[in-house]
Amino acid sequence: MTSMNARERVLKMFAGEEVDRPPCFSGFGNVTTEGLRSLNQNFATTHLDAKMMAAAAASTYKLFGFECGVAPFDLCIEAEAMGCEINVYAHSEDLLYPTIKKKLIHNEAELDIVIPTGLTGRGRVPMMVDVIKQLKKDIGNDAAIGSFVLGPFTLAGQIMELNDLLKLSFKKPDKIGKLLDQMSDVIIQVAQEYEKAGVDYISVREMGATSDVLSPRVFKSLILPYLKKIFEKISVPSVLHICGKTNDIVPAMAESGARAVSVDQKNDVAETRKKLGPKALIFGNYDPYNVLVAGTPDLVRQTIKKCMDDGVSAVWPGCDIWPTVPPDNMKAMMDEVKKYRR
């Protein structure tokens, strides 16, 4: 097979064409402290500056050959565009991820919300467009450029108390359905803006709907319809990610219309491969903390090999790559993937 660069490999894999080996990339944040150090940047300020974010997002490809550049690194973009304030913990030297400071909905009576117009001009959405363009220019010929949006349920959990959302999903499914429909519209607008900016693929992160929290039944009846609506409107290759327990919902995830299904270490990928068939794109499923950060290079190699033996279409983490990953482990992972032959 002719040699291909990282971007070509990822795009061919998405297109269902044959590739020399599974790509090793991600749909989520993968900035490393090593990368931040090489740029002399601090994590907290990186979330607020397009140039810094683009540089950080490109650094893992540049340092380790990880086959993508992905931004942003936090889960607050959509909620912020709707009017939530965020906290980036500017005072802290620890690696803290931005969070929502104030919710929009505080009780059932406030469920009826109006989505602001001109959403894509609000919050950090314009900055994200800038980041994607800079990333494309920097490494976009060689590495795949991706971004992510939240799933409707997870986004609803950002703008109201998750506890209330969970309970109301039972007590007032109609009202929650309407809210999820509004969330879907927000997500579609943001995703389409990223597409226009030039991303190669988009992941939808619906981690709030994991079977650790929510029953497969509610996932299928309440959430799946809106995921379908979203994936219908995304034209670049798309990925549906749910972390935690997913063994019972992978068929429903595949039904969502996402091009690929992404799962974490709690999923039995060999089983999932059997359920979804040889053609389905399944991404996963190494533990980004306990293996990639806390493990030895040997454990990394074993785990990555097992992912590929189990039949993943791409070697891909169960969540964000945790910044403190040791460089030797990154190198071990890349090396193990490159030498793999099916």
Binding site: Y89, D94, L96, I100, K167, F170, K171, L214, V218, Y289
Partner: protein, 230 residues
Amino acid sequence: MVTEEKKKELLAKLRNAVIQYDEDTSKEASQEALDVGMEANDAIFNGLVSGMVEVGKMFEAQEYFVPELLMCADALYAGLDILKPHVKQLDLGVKGSVVIGTVEGDVHDIGKNIVKMMFDVAGFTVYDLGRDVPLDKFVAEQLRTDSDLVCLSAMMTTTMTGMKKVIDDLRAKNPNVKIMIGGAPVSQDVADKYGADGYAKDATNALKDAINMIESLKKMKDEVEAKKKG
């Protein structure tokens, strides 16, 4: 006096109200229990709490998920609100107070809320600081309330390190307080390394450990008192 039969019927009603997350029935049955002269303690522990124990089992068996658990808790609280003022003395052997919260930078609070509920049920006084709690607030709240126990929850490996700071600070200011930590990335190993007194992998074990810890704390205090006198 209330007949055995009536008592049984009401206990079953309370238990089922919790299991079926029926707040109205829980309130009704609690009021009825008081009206017919049942002991509030009996109604709480053999009715409401026994229902919650069953719910815990259903959660482990994946028949119930987090939303069901939260709704069952609401039904339990609805009854508890009515019965609590009539409780003579909670007969758990210990009475304790606890400060609980999820540490700074971490908004994962589902697990913390479940642990908190177990303490409420057991009759502890609970000071819930919520999530994303600035580290020095734990220390200030412990000093303010003189609680026996401080419970820290963290769901991320990065925020987990904040727990060490809280533990060191608490130890410096108040060597007697007991500290328990938990959350997905936490293990017995981590608890030992950070110098916490306890770790539990889930809410039920958290409660058991807490009761043991407070018992030993009380014993220690009694011994000191006895020495002073003797």
